[in-house]
Symmetry: C2
Subunit: 508 residues, 2 copies
């Protein structure tokens, strides 16, 4: 059936149920759902001119903003494919994604530099070109019959274990499934006022955009995160829900304890993207006494939500405080051994996931797609176990990855950048504990004979090649060769272990 579960359905529902209510609020701008819908129909008119073929990729490089929410919704509604870009990435990383996606148009809120040469057309949001585009475009009604639920809605680039980032293909149905799944963990009504806080290019930032539209709820947009700005918005706009990565949660908890605002409307504070220290939740209860803390687990590949807790405050001081919660209704989890067979309840194995939210694959990467998707199951690379009530406990990652401040950092990618320096003979990268970032990127390096290099010089070298959050925060030079296993693979766990000896290993 054409168009059963698409972004268009969400907008239609919002206009029918909440046409005169606030859809989007950012700075001094307030749009009702009718106004939002009207702007999306103009954007539709503009997009079919800019990117003439259904399925064309259109990239967005922007802080959170009303145009970003409109492009997030409007590009898929126009039958085109959105490609949101991580603004923390270095120029070569952005260029790779643009080229890999074959994007024809780039919407950006800053000088695109050399990126402008990769696409046919740049639309500068910051110079008013986006508004001009909308003003001059004829409104164009959405054509349900042209849109199918299995059509691609977006390519979401995420770090890759083999160095290059991968475009995660999410369809309309994947993202609608996530909106439905999210409704089971963070139910929303037309009266909710959701704060869009984490960066929207990241699954954690855009997790509730489509859900909010479906429910006719209001989205209040925070362009760039700062703890005081967040709390001022919660108080001024009567925010009821938001999601942040743990570093954001920790910073706002401390700010609220130091300078309390009236946060009486603030019902749900969700967090995800990386492990949270339970101490943050404990202090959170003092800072936000009426607020439920909800732990979410997911991945870009699962659009993203997989499991969630009810109010974590009730789990404090129980075994389950370390759990990532139970699978949402539309999502199935099976823990498997390396042979692919399910493992008995309670034992650890790789977390595999199935549901209508699981990606269609990686763009242009058939081999990595077949490795990640097997018989309809997504192999997450996370190691975990479930208890007899289906609560998931994450133990380790089977992928060689660091989660720093909510961002995935694939070690290979950082190692590649380090090896690109002529003075480097051997290098390995892993995460070490960080109170601020959860994990911090740490490098161990052996230089070639006769070469000299400081940690700062190496860090500077990396900064030109990869995003700031991927650059090592600390570098340790060794003169002896790195320890290896039989086949020559560096024994990373051996190097990593001393840093984590006193820490709990659970993540999520």
């Amino acid at each position: 059936m054409a168009g059963v579960q698409t972004f268009v359905h969400a907008l239609r529902r919002a206009e029918a149920l909440a046409g005169h209510r606030e859809a989007l609020v950012c700075d001094r701008t307030r749009l009702t759902y009718h106004e939002f819908g009207h702007r999306l129909r103009r954007l539709h008119g503009a997009l079919v001119e800019l990117a003439t073929d259904p399925g064309d990729r259109i990239a967005v490089l922007s802080f959170n903003s009303i145009p970003f929410v409109e492009l997030y919704c409007g590009i898929p509604m126009a039958g085109r494919v959105q490609v949101p870009l991580n603004f923390r990435w270095a120029a070569p990383e952005l260029a790779y994604a643009l080229r890999d996606a074959g994007a024809r148009v780039l919407f950006c809120d800053r000088d695109p530099g050399g990126l402008g040469d990769i696409v046919e057309r740049v639309v500068r949001i910051d110079l008013g070109e986006y508004d001009e585009l909308l003003d001059s475009a004829p409104p164009l009604e959405f054509d349900d019959d042209a849109l199918r639920e299995d059509d691609l809605a977006g390519l979401f680039y995420t770090g890759g274990t083999t160095g290059a980032s991968k475009g995660v293909k999410l369809t309309h149905r994947n993202l609608v499934a996530n909106a439905v799944n999210a409704q089971f963990i963070q139910p929303m009504t037309v009266d909710d006022r959701y704060l869009v806080m984490a960066p929207m290019f990241h699954a954690a930032g855009s997790i509730s955009v489509l859900q909010s539209v479906f429910l006719g709820a209001t989205q209040v947009i925070l362009p760039a995160f700062a703890p005081a700005a967040m709390l001022d918005l919660v108080a001024a706009e009567g925010i009821t829900q938001t999601l942040g990565v743990p570093t954001m949660v920790a910073a706002t908890v401390e700010e609220q304890l130091a300078r309390p605002r009236d946060v009486g409307t603030f019902r749900v504070y969700a967090h995800g993207g990386s492990p949270i220290a339970m101490e943050v939740v404990r202090r959170g209860v003092q800072a936000f006494p009426g607020t439920a803390f909800v732990h979410l687990y997911g991945a870009t590949e699962t659009a993203p939500l997989v499991t969630g807790t009810a109010d974590e405050v009730a789990l404090l001081d129980t075994e389950r405080e370390k759990s990532a919660g139970q699978p949402v209704m539309g999502c199935e989890i099976v823990i498997r051994g390396t042979d692919g067979e399910p493992i008995p309840t309670g034992q650890a194995g790789e977390v595999t996931i199935r549901g209508a939210n699981v990606m269609a694959g990686y763009w242009n990467k058939p081999e990595q797609t077949s490795a990640a998707l097997r018989d309809g199951w997504y192999w997450s690379g996370d190691v975990g176990r479930v208890d007899e009530a289906g609560y998931l406990y994450l133990l380790d990652r089977s992928k060689d990855m660091i989660i720093s401040g909510g961002e995935n950092v694939y070690c290979t990618e950082v190692e590649d950048a380090i090896y690109a320096h002529a003075a480097v003979l051997e290098a390995t990268v892993f995460g070490v504990p960080s109170d601020e970032w959860g994990e911090a990127v740490h490098a161990v390096v052996v230089l070639r004979d006769g070469e000299s290099l400081t940690g700062d010089e190496l860090i500077e070298h990396c900064r030109a090649l990869i995003a700031g959050y991927k650059v090592p925060r600390s570098v340790e030079f060794r003169t002896e060769p790195l320890p290896t296993s039989g086949p020559g693979k560096v024994l990373k766990r051996e190097l990593r272990a001393p840093y984590w000896a006193s820490r709990d290993a659970s993540i999520g």
Copy 2:
């Protein structure tokens, strides 16, 4: 992707989250989800022997019972198609459905009479044959890869405007979508204890079976409805939710007012299937002071849920007390004129419905399928309007149908039965107001010259041909010809109007 949204997924989830908790309770039998799952795997082993080909139809004629719930779940999980039969139907109606479906096996809890000759095999639940079957069958694991979400899960027979009943084809995905949709109106958790009360062959009776399994909630089964039995179960089993047709709600409200039980656990009393008198809700508030009354609207063709209210008690004495609520998240409503075009908000037209819950069509009825399903929209035959917040108000039925005690009665079908009597020259059938049934079936008849017939004789004649609830409750004989419009069609509205002059026309 194979098996993404199937009944098997629901059972897996329940066993993972609530394996040791109660799944089913009926009389003195209590089964955990592990026991339920084990029985379903044995049923699987039995079914593949009884009905050897995937897609084979298997009929069930039974009061509500544990075997009925197991067959409702287990037949689709085995890749076969369940055909629940209305036990109120007369023998010719049951025979028609069995033949039309081409059912190979009939499970029944009574003597099947001549129906036994239509199928290859009868399994008598009442004689212990069902239990024997389960005891002797080898447990057979469910094969996800053999099951696809678009596979048929059941044929649900519903009255037809052209006389014969129609088998509504619902797929796994349709029924999973309904389970998700229901979760938005009647959210359930693992702690809920749902009372299966309305007959399960009817969409109102089975509406929450799959949802309960998904959530790992307990289903307590009432084999045959009686107000005192219902209230005793609510008190004894700590029932939290149920759904009844309005006549059931009215009867239990009066019983509770007369002989109050402890109903402190009873959180949600949903009703649907036909219009409810607001007076029932008003008295319901006195009888069940802590209970939310929820109005649901749907159709067999939509698996069934389309709209629902929040607690109706809050809508009392407002314009919206007459509303059937707002569309569930996964379901879209558009009001259309006869030209198929959407009609402006507030104006009346035919209710058309779209969503993953909309049936795949009618079994063996391509013409009726194309009339009901156009461009992915289901044309409900109901006339309604929506307000600016998406609340649906049902005004009339464009189909020639009566809703009596929650059952759809198609007038043509009753008229055909009347015309089958040799003494009848002309006949027309319509609904008249009934405090007990909402509407009661009324016939106006003109006899052939020289013939004589009493109302009771005509009623007796009909009883042999059609279900008791379809048989006219009253017959009016006329000697003058029935009034007709230009093309000879009986002016039913003209005959019907005097009965309804003092009543409100809204239904739903």
